[in-house]
């Protein structure tokens, strides 16, 4: 069983996000890139499948700032191959990334076919598309998203896939392979790998590189403005030490019969 995991970087939203001088985009220089959280879960799901059924896991990412470290981390976690698509760190929308990947994957050496392509079911910067389903459509593969568990039949022809609904209910689906799955969460939290092992991977392993074809224009949207949210309301902010604020909150709760 061979699995491909697609990973991408997104801004760390714990940091302050700034709008670029054009007023229409994020100031990418000011952000700290981190791996998209759902993609990290997709990697974990792939590694759990490899632990159980054997086979290989390949990770592939479009070139962007700090992505090398993510790929080496994946190698340190037990991934067999890590491939970077050289784009000169061009900023791609989700629809553009899906279009690019649909052309890159079949052309990458010794990569396809795989039984499963796993990636996050969405990312925090998806605006004009969602990579996983858009890629599935372009590759003419079946797709299921918001996935929280995968089991594969011994012959690799079919998977049982769990999809999350509301209130903790899940749907169980049968999916013919090969397929693209959009992972919401792996059955276990993404595994930890010590920094020393990542450093060792940086010394002993190499990232493969494939060249990206010319960008295909696919976006139908025009961004008119990027703004901080217009707040419809805002909390009354309480000031002071934790003890002072706690005392004020206790008073508020008490006045409402809650404490």
């Amino acid at each position: 069983m061979n699995i491909l995991v697609l990973m991408k970087m997104v801004p760390d939203i714990v940091e302050e996000l700034e709008i670029a001088p054009d007023g229409k985009s994020l100031d990418v220089e000011a952000v700290r890139p981190i791996v998209s959280e759902r993609d990290d879960h997709a990697l974990e799901q792939a590694l759990l499948l490899k632990d159980k059924y054997g086979g290989t896991v390949t990770v592939l990412a479009i070139e962007s700032r700090d992505v090398d470290e993510v790929l080496f981390t994946a190698l340190a976690k037990g991934v067999d191959r890590a491939i970077k698509v050289a784009t000169g760190e061009a900023i791609l929308t989700a629809a553009e990334a899906a279009a690019l990947l649909a052309r890159v994957l079949p052309a990458a050496p010794n990569l396809m076919p795989v039984q499963l392509i796993l990636t996050g079911c969405q990312a925090i910067d998806d605006l004009d598309g969602v990579v996983a389903p858009a890629l599935a459509e372009r590759l003419k593969l079946p797709y299921l998203g918001i996935v929280t568990g995968v089991e594969v039949e011994a012959d690799g022809s079919r998977a049982t896939v769990y999809k999350e609904y509301a209130g903790g209910t899940r749907g169980r689906y049968g999916v013919c392979l090969p397929a693209v799955l959009g992972v919401q969460a792996a059955p276990k939290p993404p595994r930890y790998v010590p920094v020393a092992k990542v450093r060792a991977a940086m010394k002993s392993r190499t990232l493969e590189t494939v060249e990206a074809p010319a960008k295909e224009e696919t976006s139908f949207l025009e961004i008119v403005a990027m703004t901080k949210p217009q707040e419809t309301g805002h909390a009354e902010m309480l000031e002071g030490s934790p003890e002072e604020v706690a005392s004020k909150v206790a008073e508020i709760l008490s006045s409402r019969g809650l404490a």
């Binding site: 209130g167 903790g168 703004t227 949210p229 909390a235």
Partner: protein, 324 residues
């Protein structure tokens, strides 16, 4: 641009979703704003679901009935809806951003090579064109975009408009036949309902809810001590559940429970749209987060830009002191 405004009438396990009547209000407004006889049509994909049509406040309902559409199936619904769009060429189709319709939102525009506008909080008609305001980066920024091509798929978040009232007369229903391949590659098998949890978070008057800011599993005890002092329970946002620190039954938000307690104390929760959806109806929301820009503060009544690890024990002590 010609073509009607469509709303995907989302339903799940026999019930119309709460989002559908909101989208009908929005769709009505857009159809009116576009003028020129633009109609609002609801699209009902299902099997034996036509009984839901009477509750849809639309000018008409396009009903597609097929056994493969009995339960959510992204492959079947994408094929059916794509065929319908190609035949009838709407200007835009509003789709609720829920776990039921989310896969379709990603597939449909890719299949038809048409525009997608995702995570919309608002859509308006500006100079005869649709303009959407979309939530990005976990609610930290918003993009205003114009949709220059039709048809467009527009994924709409909860809370865009108040829900429409059921119509006094049922709208006319047009049955549209659809052909689906017999060998669908994605097949629904069964629902797996969660094991009953130790605590039903939807029935609590007080929830102390923990997010990423709680940092470690051990620190959850700080929230448990406060919940105990207040006679409530501990719930959580997605990152805490994904870490396995609390069971899925404690999750509040899109994939978890929708709660309306008397007090919701959000401890170290940033307030991503998926979480806010599940708790914005609480009577009193108190939020504590180290980031003063966190979106949770725009839904909270009271906020404190501070560290939950210091605040939680301080509040537990203050509550106990008041009771003593």
């Amino acid at each position: 641009m010609a073509g009607n405004i469509w709303v995907l009438a989302e339903h799940w396990r026999g019930r119309l979703s709460d989002l559908t009547p909101e989208l009908l209000t929005l769709g009505r407004e857009l159809a009116g704003g576009l003028g020129g006889g633009t109609k609002l049509e609801a699209v009902l994909l299902g099997h034996g679901a036509q009984g839901l049509a009477a509750a849809l406040a639309a000018d008409g309902v396009l009903s597609v009935d097929h056994a493969a559409l009995a339960e959510p199936n992204p492959e079947a619904s994408c094929i059916a809806l794509a065929a319908l769009i190609e035949q009838r060429k709407p200007q835009a189709i509003l789709v609720p951003l829920s776990n039921v319709a989310a896969d379709l939102i990603g597939l449909l525009p890719a299949r038809l090579k048409i525009a997608l506008v995702n995570f919309c909080r608002d859509v308006r008609v500006v100079d005869g064109r649709l303009e959407a305001r979309c939530v990005l980066y976990g609610g930290k920024l918003e993009a205003t975009v114009t949709v220059a091509s039709a048809p467009a798929v527009i994924g709409v978040l909860p809370g865009s408009r108040p829900a429409s009232a059921a119509p006094s007369a049922a709208p006319p229903v047009t049955e549209v036949p659809v052909e689906l391949p017999g060998d669908l590659r994605v097949r629904f098998e069964a629902y797996v309902d969660p094991e009953p949890g130790d605590v039903d978070v939807t029935k609590q008057d007080v929830l102390v809810s923990v997010g990423r800011g709680i940092q470690t599993q051990d620190n959850i005890s700080l929230a448990e001590e406060l919940a105990e002092a207040l006679g409530g329970a501990v719930s959580a946002s997605r990152p805490v559940i994904d870490q396995g620190w609390l069971p899925l039954t404690r999750q509040v938000g899109k994939s978890g429970a929708t709660v309306k307690p008397k007090l919701y104390l959000a401890a170290g929760i940033s307030g991503a749209p998926e979480h806010v959806e599940g708790m914005k109806g609480a009577a009193l929301i108190v939020a504590v987060n180290t980031d003063p820009q966190a979106p949770i503060f725009s839904v909270a009544h009271y906020g404190y830009a501070g560290d939950v690890l210091e605040f939680l024990p301080a509040l537990t002590a203050a509550v106990k002191a008041r009771k003593a």
